[in-house]
Amino acid sequence: MKNHYYIIFAFLLSGILNISCSNDYESVPLEKITIDFAFDKNDSIGSKASWFLNDIYSKLPEGYNSIDGNLLDAATDDAISIDEGVTTISKLATGAYSSINLISQDMKWADYYAIIRATSIFVNNIDVVPVKDTLTSGLNAKYAWKSEARFLRAYSYFELIKRYGGVPLMGDKVRKLGENVELPRSSFEDCVNYIVSECDAIKDSIWTSPIEDPFINSHRPTVGTVLALKARTLLYAASPLFNGGNIDPTNVLTGYTNTTPDLAYWKKAADAAKELIDLNAYALIDSFQNVFTTQNNKEIIFFRQRGNNHGIEDANGPIGFMNNAHGNGKTNPTQELVDAFPMNNGKAISDPSSGYNPAKPYINRDSRLRKTIIYNGCLWLSATIQTYIGGANNPIITSQSTTTTTTKTSYYMRKFMGNWEKSTQYGNVSHDWVSFRYAEVLLNYAEAENEYAGPTESVYQALKDLRKRSKILAGTDNMYGLNSGLTQDEMREIIRNERRIELAFEEHRYWDIRRWKIAEQVCNKPLHGLRIIKTSGIFSYTTTEVFTPIFTEKMYLYPIIYSEVVKNSNMKQNPGWDINK
């Protein structure tokens, strides 16, 4: 009898203890995929690998209002922010940052290294995937993808060197937890050479320009994109900041160590741009303002997807409109930028023969002014813009205002927005961030060629092409307002000004004034806006100081995050940013 109990008891016991032991589940979570699943030896479509690549694209910066809602250009002499008080953008504009007090919105050290890691993982592993698809050129798709990854990696290095100078080159190695990452910075020269060599290595094994089947592929880099990156990299490398004007002349991290400009660098930059131009795959499209809002137009070389929306309008559109037409007026272009636009005869407004009338300042100007800036009296959302003091779009702020801020310069930004002049509200429009476009390549070429060979015919031609597109009158001499026989220095100023207005707000000015080493001059004095008073229907204009940026020499390069320097005994800080000096 007693034994029976034991048996029952033991039975119960084992039952209870066993219930939870059965293998109803996998032993590791299979939905958390591992690398051999992402790069699958049996995946002949390569779909999973392509998804990995997709993710890398999503890490690209989105541009536009990226500095806490402000354009990067609001930290240059082109614009200021509508925001009151001390803001991220004002800190960037006044150098109120240090290696421990970073402006993380643009000082994205770790973010670029994350792209570099991901691209290296892709490059190291894609070979095992038996992709069968080929491009029309006959290239296996996976090699095109691999080149895309290598482009994205080279592009990230470029974004790093323009901010920091030479940075650690990681090669193809992907490191695990515990592996040594106390790597030193490579020299600026090595970094430039690496980017260029990568561009050269992949340009023949990537998508051709223009891209095939843009319906699904337009976001991918092509041979044109690779050449554009190479051209831009070489242009930056040839620029005064790195070529002859190194802020720390013997420091190989901050630039080349030659003390006078080496024209060979300019030559390389010009040749690279020329190589792209000679592809004949790109062209300036007729409508300047549509470059940014029309998908897959001939001018776009590379872009970052941002979708159909009206975010740019919401952030930067003029205040004073209601409901769906409400804008926050973030970016206030300066009088300095407005004055940089020539008359439609191509002559600068400072030129006495230009025909500029200060009482009617916006009449007969370069059409790009109207496509770039919203000013008093222009048409917008079926209304005449009133940015005079007390006007609908520049009200005096009281508790009854629907806003507490208004334009500080009397201007708002127009560029990138849809053609809403005759609408009553904003709608969705393509707002991709165009990171490379043909106009820049022309300007890159003109600049490099002018530096290397002086104002040759091809330099003139590049400028004429741009001016022609912006509806500047060709004039009887067919020179679009350009004087013939300009000196190299005069031509340099023309090119720089052309670059300023053509590429305004496209995050070029911010870097251009650095690589030209003119930031200390242009960003160390008060910036201006316009006070417009309306008295009995007549406008009177007075310029007024609105903001004074600060720029010191060390700001030509960003500080490296303090923690990176402290944690890594091989890491050298940029000049002037050492904390424990």
């Binding site: 007693k2 109990y5 008891f9 119960l12 016991l13 203890l17 219930i19 939870s20 589940y25 590791v28 979570p29 939905e31 958390k32 995929i33 591992t34 690398i35 998804w51 990995f52 997709n54 993710d55 694209y57 999503s58 890490k59 009151e84 008080g85 001390v86 803001t87 004002s90 006044t94 109120a96 940052y97 240090s98 421990i100 007090n101 770790a110 290294y113 994350a114 890691r117 991901a118 993982i121 990681m170 490191r175 695990k176 937890l177 990452v181 106390e182 790597l183 843009p214 319906f215 699904i216 592929n217 976001h219 009281t398 508790s399 507490t404 923690s563 944690k567 890594n568 904390i579 424990n580």
Partner: protein, 1037 residues
């Protein structure tokens, strides 16, 4: 409403039926006084307990007359010789002393009530019970009486100040329920190894630290994070603090444990207790907003300070605020009065039935709790929008001796919780209440529409009563089987136990949210401009979470006394399987052995080992060995004390040491594997990339954080040294402990987390912290005649120190966290206000923020001319935290009274809140509320007396973390007070009851805080602390 009414009716009917049934039964038993011959000098009587059951073994004596004693028998009756006018004294351990004056009536019925402080010989330890004299570990316990006087929804409300070693801070005055899909799944499966991330918990109100750690919770020996039990259903709550006491928890043994024992079946006639109580909750610590007139003037001042020219509010507008002449365009709304009610009810009903025979015992507890929130309701709604909690609990327990050697116990626990909140969400309403100025908009416009503006598109009252509601439900079922088998016949002293527990929790929510437009009246009072959006009521079902918990345990025990040698041994094997939502089950397995030995009950030794594993660590690295040992010496039994010092009844010195673990909850989800997420993963969003001009979605895979193949549990070496003394004929009990716990292999990011690697570093087992402290508990119970009184107090010191955290180079010692208390706050050192323009020009400032007079001046500690991170210094306290609780009270002739005083010293708190301390916070193109604090702002006129910096509505550095905003967090609370009266037996008996007790109690009655502009515990942006005044009745049969 009807549904609710019916539900209440059913409960009430059920209770009444029970009462009727049993009262009939008990009224049959009317014989109180034993029959028999009673001589004139004799007094006869019967002693009853509070349930009217006979109380045997009561000592009866006559005051002032030694030698005459009697004892009540099994029927509770007694006979004693006593002359008229003498006083009979009734004494029984665990009961309050009763005296009776003998007058004419020579047949007595005496009811004795249990003492407030329960004294037990055998107390619950982990998976076992142990006589108090054998205990070597550090355990503090409270029993039902100390819990039930607290009106609250969680038993945690009763714990602050009650248990030595347990530090609690209330962080919210109301529950915060989960209403989003798959609630926080990554948090609770621990994808990110953060210590303290546990499963979804019903405790959103208290932060608990047991000797500095977040304790594990056990309900009747099963690890479950259940906090919303009714105190009436709880027999005892213990905190297990040292290594020995928690070792059987294996990989969860480091953090200490809170162990709850619910009321279990006891043999005897049915004991039925019904309690009904109603409390009124009143929010505490609400801030005082400025009048709109002051607000407008001060906002103008702030904007002028910022350099804006021109007034924001014209003089005319300011005047309108003053006179209130235009209440729709220049509103002045007291929002606190508008959306909060003065007090909100909290009602609780509880029924406990308990009894049985020696072989079969049962207990049933039913509980219903209904708590309403602080928001107003509207008659126009057919539904409730106020926050609320309705909870139904059942806990049934059946224990049967199937044969002489087999015991089967079955326990069923069920809990149903229904919560409600305004559609806008409690947190939104509370934070909007804090930030909406009185002049933002009128409550309603003349045409009865909601007031609002283009910037404030959601009316605060409409958030409360016009936004629909969100209901959340949670269902818990827990079934427990215990089998006990006595193998004494087989091997003497051998027995076995099996426990199986299944617990299921399901949470979901129903969202019926809507939103109305708000309108702004035009200046001419003609036109209304609509703002915001209008959404009709939604109806969506949200599956919040689903969890299953399995626990099974097998115990083999051996208890034997060999002469003067006493031996106990126990083998335990258990497994706990937790399945949360769709994640793989987490399996914990423990194989442990525990042995204890004592000689003559004087010398004690105890040791335990546990081989404990968890399946989410890398195979081959899943199991770890944990061990503990203890020694004790009962000095009180040594002849040099026993024979010489009569006032010492017990004096035991004890010590334990052990190595414990803290894994599982911080293991991460298989983080030893390098994995990639796909876009179905909810952990990371936004990395799908549109393809081509079609922008068709392109999926994405992303590498997760760096795999840590070495991830393992954290560990601790814990040492505890203590003593237990029982003095003065057991009237005075003193327990003291000192401890030193070294926690190591703590999970944290490595120091050289260099970003070049391009990924996020996972936590690794790196850090070392030490917690040291001392605890002292003193209890004194005595009586003067039948005035029984008691005091019990605990005093605690706690100090922590970071020993190692892989810190990288710091330019100054003060910036190092190593060597400082864990969690030290670092900030700038404030040095008064900038008084003049010259001073502003000279003082060091934070880059980008030039100083103005009235700004806080910070010390430039490294003298480099700028204020930055390197000018920070520790601004928290280095002193050990000191906290205490004192409970005292008395019992006299049916009255009982108790009160809890509780407080904390050496506590610092960071008080800066943008809304309250700065005011005029700018957001969505408008300015926020300001409070009376800002009246003490710096102005040139008040430069010498100002206590707040100059006003501003822009960003500036005055509200950076600095010593300016560090205040003493010391406080003292009259936490709880309770007064009860037991109606005399002669009144309750004729109506068929054993006892009626009426009582009043209160929580958070009075607070004395070093910094009293805000509540010392609950922050201003949380649901406020409530003062509760409570009345109730307890009926016993």
């Amino acid at each position: 409403m009807l549904h609710c009414f019916i539900r209440k009716c059913i409960i009430a009917n059920f209770v009444m039926l029970m009462l009727a049934q049993v009262s009939y039964a008990s009224s049959q038993n009317t014989t109180v006084v034993p029959s028999g011959i009673v001589s004139a000098d004799q007094v006869v009587g019967k002693v009853l307990d509070s349930f009217g059951h006979p109380l045997a073994g009561v000592n009866i004596s006559i005051r002032g007359k030694e030698g005459v004693v009697s004892t009540s028998n099994m029927l509770g009756t007694f006979i004693i010789d006593a002359s008229t006018k003498s006083f009979l004294v009734f004494e029984c351990p665990g009961y309050n002393v009763v005296e009776k004056h003998i007058l004419k009536d020579r047949s007595l019925t005496v009811v004795m009530y249990e003492t407030y402080l329960t004294k037990v010989n055998v107390e619950a330890v982990l998976y076992d019970t142990l006589s108090q004299e054998k205990r070597l570990g550090s355990i503090s316990t409270v029993h039902t009486n100390q819990l039930t006087t607290t009106p609250g929804t969680l038993y945690l409300y009763a714990l602050p100040g009650r248990l030595a070693g347990l530090y609690m801070q209330q962080t919210s005055g109301f529950r915060s329920s989960a209403t989003t899909q798959n609630y926080n799944v990554d948090g609770f499966v621990g994808n990110i190894p953060i210590s303290g991330t546990g499963v979804s918990s019903d405790n959103a109100e208290f932060a608990m630290r047991l000797r500095g750690q977040n304790p594990v919770t056990l309900i009747d020996g099963v690890q479950r994070d259940i906090y919303s039990l009714d105190p009436e259903n709880i027999e005892s709550i213990s905190v297990l603090k040292d290594a020995m006491s928690t070792l059987l928890l294996g990989q969860r043994s480091s953090r200490g444990a809170i162990s709850i024992t619910t009321k279990r079946a006891e043999a005897g006639k049915p004991r039925i207790s019904f309690t009904s109580q109603l409390g009124f909750q009143e929010p505490q610590g609400l801030q005082k907003p400025l009048s709109t007139y002051q607000y407008a003037n001060l906002l103008n001042e702030a904007r002028l300070n910022d350099g804006n020219t021109g007034l924001y509010y014209s003089a005319d507008e300011v005047e309108k605020f003053k006179t209130g002449s235009d209440p729709y365009r220049y509103a002045n709304v007291d929002w606190q009065n508008t959306i909060l009610r003065d007090n909100a009810p909290l009602s609780r009903y509880n029924l406990n039935i308990n009894g049985g025979t020696k072989t079969a015992k049962y207990s049933v507890s039913l509980n219903y709790t209904d708590q309403e929130g602080m928001f107003v309701n509207s008659d126009t709604n057919s539904y409730n929008t106020n926050s609320s909690l309705k909870r139904y609990l059942i806990n049934a327990d059946l224990s049967v001796d199937v044969t002489k050697n087999i015991n089967v116990a079955l326990q069923l626990f069920g809990r149903l919780q229904e919560g409600n909140q305004p559609g806008a969400g409690i947190n939104t309403v509370v934070s909007d209440l804090l930030s909406t100025p009185n002049n933002a908009y009128p409550v309603t416009n003349p045409n009865k529409t909601w007031g609002g503006t283009s910037q404030r598109t959601y009316n605060l009252l409409s958030e409360v009563i016009g936004s629909g509601y969100i209901q959340d439900n949670s269902k818990d079922v827990m079934a427990n089987i215990d089998l006990g088998y006595n193998l004494n016949d087989f091997v003497k002293g051998l027995s076995a136990k099996v426990k199986a527990n299944l617990s299921i929790q399901s949470q979901n929510a129903i969202s019926r949210v809507k939103r109305d437009l708000v309108y702004r009246l035009s200046e001419d009072y003609v036109k209304y401009t609509p703002y915001g959006s209008s959404n009709s009521q939604s109806n969506s079902f949200i599956p919040v979470s689903n969890s299953r918990y399995w626990f099974s345990q097998f115990q083999l025990r051996y208890d034997r006394q060999f002469g003067e040698h006493s031996l106990n041994a126990m083998l335990v094997a258990d497994q706990r399987v937790v399945t949360l939502n769709y994640d793989l089950p987490g399996q914990t397995t423990n194989f442990s052995a525990k042995g204890s030995y004592n000689f003559k009950s004087k010398y004690f030794a105890e040791a335990a080992v546990n081989y404990s594993g968890y399946n989410r660590y890398m195979p081959g690295h899943q199991y770890g060995l944990f061990y503990a040992g203890g020694l004790g010496w009962e000095l009180g039994k040594e002849s040099f004390i026993k024979d010489n010092i009569s006032w010492i009844n017990q004096l035991k010195i004890r010590a334990t040491y052990g190595k414990t673990g803290s894994g599982i909850d911080n293991s991460g989800y298989y983080i030893w594997r390098q994995t990639f997420s796909n876009d179905n993963d909810k952990a990371i969003l936004g990395y799908m990339y549109p393809q081509g001009t079609s922008r068709s979605t392109g999926s994405g895979y992303r590498e997760f954080d760096l795999a840590n193949v070495n991830i393992t549990w954290e560990k601790a070496n814990k040492f505890d040294l203590g003593f237990d003394a029982s003095l003065l004929n057991e009237k005075l009990m003193v327990t003291g402990d000192v401890y030193s716990d070294r926690y190591f292999d703590l999970l944290q990011t490595r120091g050289k987390s260099i970003a070049l690697i391009g990924s996020t570093y996972s936590n690794e087992n790196i850090g070392i912290n030490r917690y040291q402290g001392a605890e002292l508990s003193i209890t004194y119970q005595n009586n003067y005649r039948d005035f029984n009184y008691f005091v019990t107090a605990n005093f605690n010191l706690e100090q922590s120190k970071v020993l190692f955290n892989d810190e990288q180079y710091q330019p100054a010692k003060r910036l190092e966290t190593t060597g400082k208390p864990v969690g030290m706050i670092f900030g700038y050192i404030a040095d008064g206000f900038i008084q003049t323009k010259e001073e502003a020009g000279e003082a060091a400032f934070v880059a980008g923020y030039p100083l103005k007079p009235g700004d806080i001046k910070y010390k430039d500690l490294n003298s480099d001319g700028v204020i930055d991170d390197f000018d920070k210094a520790p601004i928290g306290s280095n002193k050990p935290l000191f906290y205490y609780g004192v409970t005292l009270g008395f019992n006299y002739k049916g009255f009982d009274f108790s009160t809890l005083l509780q407080g904390v010293e050496n506590r610092t708190r960071y008080i800066c809140n943008g809304d309250v301390d700065a005011g005029f916070r700018f957001g969505n193109n408008t300015f926020g509320q300001a409070y009376e604090q800002v009246l003490n702002r710096w102005t040139p006129e008040t430069a010498s007396t100002a206590t707040y910096p100059r006003l501003t509505s822009n960003t500036n550095t005055n509200y950076s973390t600095s010593s300016f905003w560090m205040r003493s967090g010391d406080y003292f609370r009259l936490k709880n007070i309770s007064l009860g009266y037991n109606l005399p037996y002669k009144i309750v008996h004729p109506i068929g009851l054993a006892g009626i007790k009426v009582f009043v109690s209160g929580q958070n009655i009075f607070t004395q805080a070093a910094y009293d502009l805000i509540d010392p515990e609950v922050a201003v942006n949380a649901y406020p602390l409530q003062r509760v005044l409570n009345v109730g009745i307890n009926i016993r049969l």
